[in-house]
């Protein structure tokens, strides 16, 4: 193999790799882009077909002689595409033809054509066995009775520079002139519509307390499992390990009844207190502490330090990456949880809704405005994404390591 063809093959191979990776990256990221782009659109823009990514607004222009700004459309005039303003829509136009020569059609406004013989005594003609009304149509200065072949609705388009130039086109078939414009006020609107700010605060509160609580209990528990010898420790540890794989739905009914018993249904406490004790987090912290060299600790003990001081002054400062990882995990779990809040917080009690519950309500309340729904979804999705991007370095690595070592 000569070096040139080797280089070419390597280039092609790398190209294929990047192509595949980029394709999947696009698949992964597309729904997020769609969500963001749509959340900045106006409602009518979201229902367009074919769908378009960037949010657009119809352009309006002020024409002298017209009070309101008029929407601009692309109109073909004499074979040239021009931007004309729509001055009047819903103008009804009829196509008329003499009864004896249906191909000789003329177009007139419906409002300008009167029935033959006047409204009181309309005349008609029979064509193919069907009785058809006759109308007086003026053609080249003559009034000729004709029948109505078809009718359409058109709009009157005018040249914004020269309002005297008018053309008539079907409005629906004309493309409006649009420019790209973003509507961040959708977020404002969804927050007001759906008590979203309260849900956001509740979610932040719940998440912060769950993260802090879990860190405390699992640091202490993990340290006890990793470093302190006491009878019963290994039995309890095996017990903890055995429950890690038990799915949460096993607990939902008895936990609900427990909450009914203590009176925590409908309360934020129910979203916090049961979740700050975790077998999995304790297990992870234990795995972390067990790798820590024992000698440092023994030296500190000889110097008269208490276990608590050792934990606070030596182990915790040295475990920031592990703690950050667990905090990120817990953050995501607490922020995104939906099933338990759905069970425990009443739909009517909007004061205590978290974001996922608020989204569930929003889904029904704003079903005809996808822009608002997706703005709500973005409010729920973006904070975890930011946390992820900040903690990415620790997080992805640790998922990678915990999966295999565990």
């Amino acid at each position: 193999m000569n070096p040139q063809s080797y280089k070419l093959r390597r280039f092609l191979g790398n190209f294929a790799i990047y192509f595949v990776l980029s394709f999947f990256a696009l698949v992964m990221i597309f729904p997020f882009l769609y969500m963001l782009a749509t959340s900045f659109k106006i409602p009518s823009d979201t229902f367009r077909y074919p769908p378009r990514m960037l949010p657009r607004d119809p352009v309006e222009i002020t024409v002298t002689g017209y009070g309101k700004p008029l929407p601009l459309y692309y109109v073909e005039v004499d074979g040239v595409q021009k931007e004309f303003a729509l001055a009047q829509s819903n103008i009804k136009v009829g196509t008329y033809a003499p009864a004896d020569n249906l191909n000789a059609t003329v177009e007139r406004y419906l409002s300008e054509v009167k029935p033959t013989g006047g409204a009181m005594n309309p005349q008609s003609v029979t064509i193919n066995g069907e009785e058809t009304k006759l109308f007086d149509v003026e053609l080249d200065g003559q009034v000729i009775p004709m029948i109505l072949v078809s009718q359409t609705t058109v709009g009157e388009f005018i040249d914004p520079q020269n309002p005297e130039i008018k053309v008539y086109r079907n409005v629906r078939l004309s493309d409006p002139v649009e420019n790209i414009s973003w509507h961040p006020e959708n977020y404002q609107q969804v927050v007001e519509l759906n008590n979203m700010s309260r849900a956001l605060t509740n979610t932040a509160l719940v998440t912060i307390l769950v993260v802090l609580g879990q860190l405390v209990t699992s640091v202490f528990g993990g340290y006890a499992f990793a470093r302190l010898k006491f009878p019963g420790r290994d039995t309890v540890f095996v017990f903890y390990l055995g429950t890690i794989m038990i799915p949460f739905v096993m607990l939902i009914v008895p936990l609900y009844q427990l909450m009914v018993l203590i009176g925590w249904t409908d309360r934020l406490a129910a979203l916090i207190i049961p979740w700050i004790f975790t077998a999995y987090g304790t297990f992870l912290m234990r795995q972390h502490f067990i790798t820590f060299p024992k000698e440092i600790e023994e030296a500190a003990l000889l110097d008269g330090a208490s276990r608590f001081q050792i934990l606070k002054d030596i182990l915790i400062p040295a475990s920031v990456p592990a703690l950050a990882t667990q905090a990120t995990f817990t953050f995501l779990y607490a922020w995104n949880s939906f099933f338990w809040p759905l069970v425990i917080i009443n739909v009517g009690n909007e004061k205590n809704h978290v974001l996922t519950l608020a989204l569930n309500v929003l889904r029904g309340r704003a079903s005809d405005t996808p822009n608002l729904i997706l703005a709500g979804a973005a409010i729920a999705i973006i904070p975890p994404l930011i946390v992820f991007i900040l903690g990415q370095r620790f997080f992805v690595e640790s998922v990678a390591s915990s999966g295999v070592k565990g």
């Binding site: 969500m35 202490f220 304790t282």
Partner: protein, 557 residues
């Protein structure tokens, strides 16, 4: 520490007091044991009475044993004493907090927390200001000390402002006001008494007087450190797990005392009937008693057929849908993840970027994601159908064909509804699995590939001969966790489908049915039984995979 210290008068007094206290404690606990049964305290149901009495009975006996051991100056007495007092102390503390409505008060915090958040941000910024020193340790010392002071003041100030903004003062006053009732006084008194007892027994002189050894320190600290975690675990995990098992044999409805119904719940779930049909479209009422059984499905066999009917058809439909979901969602997530991880494992630049991008879906809220996909799936304006249309047009133009655009009604057609959910789930879990596989790949020693290259193996042979067998433990982990996740599919279905069970029950899943039984019809005993059946299915699937993994792991040297 080994020499026996002479007891000074004060230690002696403490120990004597402690013996008396243990006897008083035992008497109080004994009274508490009897209380629910002679009507001093009213508890809702029998299991609560039994639980409370059993715990207090154990406490009574333990306290008496502790008193006996303390009179003999044995260290075991100290351990018993500490344990009992600690548990009682924690109980009193929780009762105090609950009486003061701290837990319920979190709701009120939800109202004011938003106002305080900026100040909390200031406090955190102050912390980072102080942490700068750790990153640039060789800076001028005087600058860093002043920086530390400034940072401490910022943290303190931010925190005080935060507390002020969230209305901590009002909260504290409210707490104290609520506490001023008999229950609150008793609980606070309990905290003081038990706290004093704990403090006296923790004194080094007392420990020495009872011949404490070094490993005793580890025992006490070990249980102490583990206790918050363990207590929470017992109350909010192990206890409910046992209760769930108990409920599955009752007709519990969450609000009235449950009645024992034996195996009725399980019997209803498993009450199924197979019947032969003489023609494929024979009506179900001709072959089974339709007062009891509903048709779940039928199989056409030649001129006849087989009818499957069940007393609870929704359970079996849910089981069918859930298993179908697992059968598709797991491979759709795992196989692309396996291939992608192999591509990502190449040492080209930018791989970390792609890895992060693939990871993104798995961290976003399922509820939000499902809402986004709901619009992507929209049959008239959704992007998915648009892409299909574009693809078909391109294909037709290229080969001059006339393939008809299917215009799939993704979520409202019973044939595609479950598939729509499968796609979301696979999309969302793929990146996570990719990262897991990637880690597994990076643990495969490179020498294996080098040796294979020397032997003339191509990349395809290397993949089948080295990568897959060496990856078997990771694959087991990935497949089993993805399966366990998939068996519990609920949120995607709940959000995407309207109603959640989908057209013609095509997306009713086990967890959705559990939710409907337990929390819409409030047949919580029945829901518990469904949960245990679900657990058994999950356990069985995991076991099967484990067996397969064991068989295939012979490759591992």
């Amino acid at each position: 520490m080994t020499k026996v210290a002479s007891l000074d008068a004060r230690t002696n007094q403490i120990l004597r007091l402690q013996v008396i206290w243990r006897v008083v404690f035992a008497v109080l606990a004994a009274a508490g044991t009897l209380a629910p049964w002679i009507g001093w305290v009213t508890l809702a149901s029998n299991w609560q009475k039994i639980l409370v009495s059993a715990l207090l009975l154990v406490a009574t006996l333990a306290s008496l044993i502790g008193a006996r051991q303390l009179t003999r100056r044995s260290h075991a007495g100290r351990l018993v004493s500490l344990t009992l007092d600690y548990l009682a102390f924690v109980t009193c503390a929780v009762i105090t907090l609950n009486t003061g409505e701290i837990f319920i008060g979190i709701d009120a915090l939800g109202e004011t927390f938003g106002r305080g958040l900026p100040y909390l941000g200031i406090a955190i910024a102050g912390y980072f200001l102080g942490a700068i020193e750790d990153y640039y340790p060789q800076r001028n010392l005087s600058v860093t000390t002043s920086l530390k002071t400034v940072s401490r003041w910022i943290i303190l100030g931010g925190f005080v402002l935060f507390l002020w903004q969230v209305g901590a003062v009002n909260g504290l006053l409210y707490f104290l006001g609520k506490l001023a009732q008999p229950k609150g006084f008793v609980a606070v008194a309990g905290i003081l008494v038990f706290g004093f007892s704990l403090w006296s027994m923790m004194r080094p002189e007392v420990a020495q007087a009872l011949n404490a050894k070094t490993n005793h320190e580890q025992i006490i600290n070990g249980w102490l450190f583990l206790s918050p975690n363990l207590l929470g675990f017992l109350i909010f995990f192990a206890g409910p797990l046992i209760l769930s098992f108990y409920f599955s044999f009752t007709d519990s409805d969450a609000f009235n005392p449950p009645n024992w119904v034996g195996f009725d719940n399980y019997a209803r779930i498993l009450n199924v009937r197979f019947a032969w049909l003489s023609t494929p479209d024979q009506l179900a009422r001709d072959v089974v008693d339709i007062k009891v059984y509903d048709e779940v499905g039928r199989l056409t066999l030649g001129n006849g057929g087989l009818l499957f009917a069940a007393a609870d058809k929704f359970f079996w439909l849910a089981l069918r849908n859930t298993l179908t979901f697992v059968l598709f969602a797991v491979p759709f997530s795992v196989i692309p993840a396996l291939l992608l991880s192999n591509v990502l494992n190449s040492k080209l630049p930018g791989m970390k970027f792609f890895r992060a991008v693939y990871f993104m879906p798995s961290i976003a809220a399922v509820v939000g994601i499902s809402l986004v996909w709901q619009w992507l799936y929209n049959a008239t304006i959704g992007y998915i159908n648009y892409f299909i249309t574009l693809g078909i047009e391109f294909w037709n133009n290229l080969f001059n064909l006339a393939v008809v655009d299917p215009k799939i009604q993704w979520v409202s057609d019973e044939k595609t509804a479950l598939f729509a959910v499968i796609i979301i789930a696979a999309w969302q879990s793929m990146g996570f699995n990719t990262v897991l596989f990637l880690a597994g790949l990076q643990n495969i020693p490179g020498e294996l590939y080098e040796a294979a290259t020397v032997d003339g193996a191509g990349s395809w042979a290397k993949f089948w001969g080295i990568t897959l067998p060496m990856l078997a433990p990771t694959t087991f982990y990935v497949v089993s966790t993805t399966t366990i996740q998939a068996m519990q599919v609920f949120e995607q279905v709940f959000i995407l489908m309207n109603p959640p069970e989908g057209p013609n029950n095509s997306t009713i899943t086990l967890v959705l049915y559990l939710y409907r039984s337990g929390f819409q019809n409030f047949k919580q005993g029945y829901a518990s039984a469904i949960a245990w059946v679900l657990f058994i299915v999950i356990f069985g699937l995991t076991l099967v995979q484990f067996q397969r993994q064991r068989r295939s792991s012979i490759y591992e040297g």
